[in-house]
Amino acid sequence: MSTQKIISETIIARIPRGDAFYAAATFLAVIGLWQLATQALSIPSYLLPSPLAIMNDLRTHWPIILLHTWFTAFEVLVGFAISTLVGIPLAVALTYSRTFDKSVYPLIVGSQVVPKIAVAPMLLAWFGFGMFPKIVIVVLVAFFPIVINTVVGLRSSPIEMSRLASSMGATAAQTFWKFRLPNALPNIFAGLKMATILAVIGATVAEFVGADKGVGYLIMIAGSDFNIERQFSAVLALSALAVVFYWLTDCAEKVFIPWHVSVRSNK
């Protein structure tokens, strides 16, 4: 649980803005070396295309790449939304009901040993090639970090906090909305950020297993055609998708918890 928080908050969110220049310069240098190497060592383009060749593929075929990115984005978005809408209330129920917690929480945690991708062929058999089985996979992978982080956040509220609330005569609803939920928001957002990245991975791999659209499908088709430029283009499109989703969650975090240390250190 804490590892997830560290990954999503520390590694990605806390890169100081001023260092972006150095990172960008290094990145461009690597791309430049790559370009030079492919030309100087005459590496065959079916093994490693040059950056320019990939750019060229993106430029000429962007409509088809964009179209497939849309499908994947839709699966990710719907899956992510369902995970959030189910995950957060479930976490609240787990926190408030001892019985529910005892009977369900171990199963949720235990279910994480199942490699969700291994279920994908079954989903294919049950629901066909459409988007639905992909959304199911996205929910299966994105749901867990949201639930776990929300539970951790809600439970981390100190006992004195609820005592203070009781001394004010707060109702259970007031204690939840005014004390506990805001207190859990930083953890919830850590879970959501984790989920955005996992959701993109889940959708792509689900498309590998069997699909007629989406970036995963595009990669499989390009692979069977030995079109390695297209595979690189698709990977770029997926990365862009993941970045946009992550960025949107990050923006939401800044709006909802401007007071939290993870957000402040970015200023």
């Binding site: 004195e160 005592r163 203070l164 609330a165 001394s167 004010m168 005569g169 005014k178 004390f179 240390v261």
Partner: protein, 273 residues
Amino acid sequence: MKIIPTAAAEPSSVRQNFISIAGIAKSFPARRGLVEALGRVDLDIEQSEFVSIIGPSGCGKSTLLLLLAGLEQPTAGRISIGNRLVQDPVSDLGIVFQQDLLLDWRTAIENVVIQAEIRGLPRKPAVEQARRLLAMVGLEGFEGAYPYQLSGGMRQRVSICRALLHNPPLVIMDEPFGALDALTRDQMQLDLLRLWSHNRMTVVFVTHSISEAVFLSDRVVVMSPRPGRIETIMSIDLTRPRRLSIRDTAEFIHYNHQLIAIFKKLGVLREDE
């Protein structure tokens, strides 16, 4: 949830028994049977009185406060506050813990005003009152600051203002200055006494510090190690308003020595001959 209209505004000369703690005991279930945290405590506290409870760690001081606030139920005995038996959380009081428990997402003034918000009291007078209280503890100009922008002492001042916003007849404080540095602590004691002489609420104050207890209180209740019982109750007859210089007077030092002697007798303090 009703709030007693400031009975504390009466002149302090008409003192009456406000809190009555009778035969209170508290045990917790543990691995090997019951652990007796607090055994048979009797204590009466007058209106507008400042009472400190002092004792070694684990003597049940904090438990006693929680029982007083109705946040824990006693195993035996009864507590009444203002002739009302304590059976569930008492809301006619303010609480300050060692942790300031400020809400990170609210500004200083909003952290104070939440007291009124939860109680459904009108917002406008609450904001004015919060502003007054913050000014009284030297936080004028910090109303809009978020907790992370405040120092530890400032945060604890905000939490004290929060406990006082609804003008409660009783304020209970559980080692509120325990986490602060010595200088800040001195200032906080003065601020607290100023608020107390202004609001005339009853204060029950738990502390580990002998000199803090003497400096602040009308009476100091000394508790024995677990299971906590009242060892002695010492009246502190020092003039008010108390100034820092009172700590250099012979009387003050005498009270300190007496308390130290009691803790030596209890085996809480030991020194080599």
